[in-house]
Point group: C2
Chain length 192, copies 2
């Protein structure tokens, strides 16, 4: 039987990562976010092996970072995508869990019993939140949000060919600014 896995896609500053942790805590299952997955990739030595066998363009990381070009083979980002996808699949096979970000909804399609969630909020609410969580920067919070959203949408589109933030791609979408993190996490946990 496939494990039940909750994937959380989220707009920058919407509190999706925090909601993921809250859901996992309520359910007593682990929560993996982008940082954790990256850490696992580094620690496991997986990345080195994969870079040798799959990431032709990545042998010389410094050079390939500069000359990253898909016409010359997979980019570093492509290699990282392959490694992360493998790790996400392995984590989902270990047991039920929450996975935040990294297009886990797409990676695990058909491999796990998925509940795909999208968390969003108005730019104003997210701007408030990122200043509270990460502090002020040179660029305005609204600019930081726009930039980050653009990157996430492009990344998502490139690797999954799905439209970012399209309700039809998720089982449930929640406005965390309107509903609050606690209510969002209870609803998601109740659907597990």
């Amino acid at each position: 039987m496939k494990n039940r896995v909750i994937t959380i896609s989220r707009e920058f500053g919407s509190g999706g990562r925090t909601i993921g942790r809250m859901v996992a805590e309520k359910l007593g299952i682990p929560c993996y976010d982008a940082e954790i997955i990256e850490k696992i990739a580094k620690e496991s030595g997986y990345s080195d092996e994969y870079i040798r066998t799959e990431g032709e363009g990545a042998q010389d990381r410094w050079l390939s970072n500069i000359f990253s070009n898909r016409a010359m083979g997979p980019t570093n980002q492509d290699t990282i995508w392959v490694i992360q996808s493998r790790i996400i699949t392995e984590l989902s096979e270990k047991g039920s869990c929450v996975i935040v970000g990294r297009c886990a909804d797409y990676v695990l399609k058909g491999k796990a019993d998925l509940l795909n969630v999208f968390i969003h909020a108005t730019p104003e609410k997210r701007a408030e939140r990122i200043v509270r969580e990460y502090g002020e920067r040179d660029t305005s919070p609204l600019e930081r949000i726009r930039e980050k959203d653009r990157r996430r949408a492009a990344y998502h589109r490139f690797y999954t060919d799905l439209k970012w933030g399209h309700a039809q791609n998720y089982h449930i979408c929640l406005d965390s600014g309107e509903l609050g993190l606690e209510k969002c996490s209870s609803i998601i946990a109740s659907l597990f």
Copy 2:
């Protein structure tokens, strides 16, 4: 104080109207759908008055149906839009309620304390449902869905300038095919 109003936008065949009724029943408040709003418009004589005063192009309904053209003034559809918007606003002022369809989320923006919901499901699930609910037709259920969705999206886009089915436009979006009508209606009612 503004009344709490739940608006439900929905894909054709997703069971949004049924969910609306279930939510209203749970909460003990009325539910108005497109059919009811149309009926109110006809019974109230509102339509006649409005057609006279606002719907210049609609005096001769037969003619204006044939020569419906915005360059010549508002179309019949525009007149109906104005009437329905007025009725939706009046209903929301009477007390808390559920309103299904008719772009009520847009019409009531700023006028009510809104919870905006979008209900969707995969085309396969919706095809099953419309055959069960409305029976077979000459055209295949998947074609009927595509046609109806296209119309709703175009109508919504024209009158609201918002993108149909974009998660960011709603407080909560639910996949009724995956979650089931009962679960969807309980979640919505819990957010009232």
